[in-house]
């Protein structure tokens, strides 16, 4: 099987895997390989956390069967290669929704566990792992463990957010969330200045299950729109299907001029104070354009996502936005959100109480990397961390500083498993 197509979302041109392997069924043993192995889901991680350059990838998408679903209790069991989109297709019409969903539904359940993903309801619901009832972990020594919060709890904590390094998750059992319709009631509020964001957001978090802000990161005074929402007892027709971006333009279509124009138009467009929309445009606006990552041209792009604790959140966020505005680099979908207090279950889970900021940057080589160094310094001084699922460049020291339970985690890493990210941050290259 060819390694073509087994890439990461940022398209930064990593060397390919030497070998692509498959699991014929969830009860099959891990295939033999000379070097290291990494389970690969749907390739929606931005950087090398889902890649194993020179080693083998274990393609998990083939393991996408449902195992059981109880429409009375909302407990769903499925194989790890199933997409969140598959779950929504089956469960939404029966009145159930994902307890936590990231900004794309094209991720596998295994990937959602390995990165302990979060969503717009983190302040209310915590991370994906907080709703995992159990999963099976298959290790290269052939052992299989059922892991749950109260069964093999150490393995559970290491594997949730464990970047696919503790073993291969073959199936998982999730607790879904009841809904009375497929729509979301949305409240949009424009704001200018970070103080206004923090005040509005605090109020929105008390009143709404979902809250997230889009910000114009190039404006002198940060401005944006706070988008809050709740599931509504309404059924709306699904919007039309996805259209793929058909080709990669020869250069990035995202540059300072196009960004300023986009941000001005996006901020200025009519934002109804209240609207009710199908859940898909609310949770997955970017999924409407398949392969939108091609917008950034052949050199690809970075995403920078940080989290900083509450005490330092306002100052550090302001400082980061100022540094980005000054650099003239930045993204058309910059996202600001507060994480709640509910602890993430994983030793390496990214979400921590505080504020998270996520931005895309076209790859402009040294200019982009030196901006990231400035941002790293701000995040570390604030006691924060970066998100491995989005990362393609964080230095080892930044990773160590952000993840104090790293040493504890390392003892659970399967000796046959590794990734480009892991070798980079552990300086094993």
């Amino acid at each position: 099987m060819s390694a073509e197509g087994f890439s990461a979302w940022g398209r930064l041109g990593w060397p390919p895997a030497a070998e692509i392997l498959r699991l014929p069924s969830r009860s099959a043993p891990l295939p033999a390989t000379a070097g290291t192995l990494l389970p690969y889901g749907n390739g929606r991680s931005y950087g090398d956390v889902c890649l194993n350059p020179g080693g083998a990838l274990l393609a998990m998408r083939g393991l996408d069967r449902f195992i059981a679903f109880d429409a009375d209790t909302g407990v769903l069991v499925c194989e790890a290669g199933a997409l969140l989109a598959d779950i929504l297709d089956v469960c939404v019409p029966r009145g159930w929704f994902l307890p936590v969903t990231p900004g794309t539904r094209h991720v596998t359940v295994g990937g959602a566990i390995a990165n302990d993903v979060h969503g717009k309801n983190h302040h209310a619901a915590g991370s994906f792992g907080a709703h995992l009832r159990a999963f099976e972990l298959l290790r290269s020594d052939g052992s299989r463990r059922r892991c749950a919060p109260d069964e093999n709890p150490a393995w559970f904590a290491a594997t949730v957010g464990g970047l696919g390094l503790t073993g291969v998750v073959t199936w998982a059992e999730l607790q879904l969330r009841r809904i009375a319709g497929n729509a979301v009631a949305v409240r949009n509020t424009r704001f200018t200045g970070l103080d206004a964001f923090f005040a509005l957001n605090a109020e929105a978090e008390r009143q709404h299950e979902y809250a997230v802000a889009w910000i114009d990161c190039l404006a002198k005074t940060p401005r944006g729109v706070l988008i809050a929402g709740d599931h509504a007892a309404t059924d709306l027709p699904a919007p039309r299907g996805e259209r793929n971006l058909p080709l990669t333009p020869p250069f990035s279509l995202i540059n300072e001029t196009s960004l300023r124009a986009f941000n001005a138009v996006y901020y200025g467009k009519p934002w109804p104070a209240r609207e009710t929309v199908h859940h898909r445009p609310y949770f997955y606006p970017l999924d409407a354009v398949g392969r939108w990552n091609r917008l950034y041209g052949p050199r690809g792009f970075y995403q920078y996502q940080s989290a900083v604790p509450p005490a330092a959140a306002a100052a550090a966020t302001a400082e980061m936005l100022a540094a980005i505005a000054e650099s003239g680099q930045g993204s058309f979908l910059a996202v600001l959100k507060n994480f709640g207090e509910r602890p993430s279950p994983g030793l390496l889970s990214f979400p921590m109480a505080g504020t998270t900021l996520a931005l895309d940057f076209p790859n402009r080589g040294a200019a982009t990397l030196s901006l990231f160094e400035r941002l790293d310094a701000i995040v570390l001084a604030a006691g924060g961390r970066l998100y491995p699922a989005k990362d393609a460049r964080m230095p080892a020291a930044t990773f160590r500083a952000g993840y104090p339970r790293l040493a504890e985690f390392s003892s659970f890493v399967d000796p046959k498993l590794s990734s480009g990210f892991w070798r980079r941050v552990m300086e094993q290259n």
């Binding site: 099987m1 069924s25 195992i67």
Partner: protein
């Protein structure tokens, strides 16, 4: 509610088609060689919305087992609206050239066993006066080529047999659908290098379900293969025999 029998149910294309039928609330009966795979697939289809799912383990080349399996399927489903024959193997052409036994075994699994099943199913559908017999053939059956003519011969035999069945059963209200997929990225073709012409099983399955709905006779999937094979079929043999295809 459609009542659907699938032979070779755990093949990638058949499973993808079964998922589409399950989502519409069909009743399904799955026949395949591996019990564990059938059970896992049945559980999946139930979650996806299938009204009920039955299974039976059978090797399609075991011709003596066919009658009882079909009887069990009709009993479990409470009738039969659609039968999809999807089993098959991809022969190693070079190995076949060196072995008469292997060649005949491949002709059996891709050709004779299909004809045996189609014969029984045709009689069953004819007796009840309605229903669709759908069979997965291949574009390889449209012309013999040096790279896979054993497979092509078996698939070509099936296509010709189905032409005759279609002609016989058209007046009885029974539909016969010949499905000719091109290159499909499945476990059966895992060892082959992939290019731009390759399709995903889910795309081919969408075409199969639509072709059954629309009472088609012959479909190429994806559709562009109809044009490709039109050209391939019309190259004069004097030229064709010199090509490396």
């Amino acid at each position: 509610m459609q009542k659907i029998l699938i032979v070779g149910a755990t093949s990638a294309i058949a499973e993808a088609a079964a998922r589409r039928w399950a989502a519409r609330g069909a009743a399904l009966f799955l026949v395949g060689r591996r019990a564990a795979a059938l059970d896992a697939m049945a559980a999946d289809l139930r979650v996806r919305g299938a009204a009920n799912v039955g299974t039976r383990v059978m090797d399609a080349t075991d011709l003596g087992a066919h009658a009882a399996a079909l009887q069990e399927a009709v009993a479990a489903l409470g009738g039969l609206d659609v039968a999809l024959i999807a089993h098959g193997t991809l022969p190693d052409q070079k190995a076949c050239e060196a072995s008469v036994e292997l060649t005949l075994r491949e002709i059996d699994s891709n050709g004779l066993s299909v004809i045996a099943l189609a014969t029984r199913l045709a009689n069953l559908l004819e007796a009840q006066g309605h229903g669709t017999l759908a069979v997965i053939g291949s574009v390889a059956g449209d012309r013999g080529r040096q790279s896979n003519y054993v497979y092509g011969a078996a698939k070509g035999m099936v296509a010709r047999f189905l032409e005759g069945l279609r002609n016989r059963l058209a007046k009885q209200g029974v539909r016969v659908l010949t499905i000719k997929p091109g290159f499909v990225d499945t476990p059966m073709t895992a060892a082959l290098p992939k290019g731009a012409l390759w399709a995903q099983p889910a795309d081919v399955a969408r075409g199969i379900v639509a072709a059954v709905d629309r009472n088609k006779d012959v479909v190429y999937l994806p559709g562009f293969w109809r044009a490709i094979m039109l050209v391939v079929r019309h190259i004069p043999e004097s030229v064709f025999k010199r090509l490396s295809l």
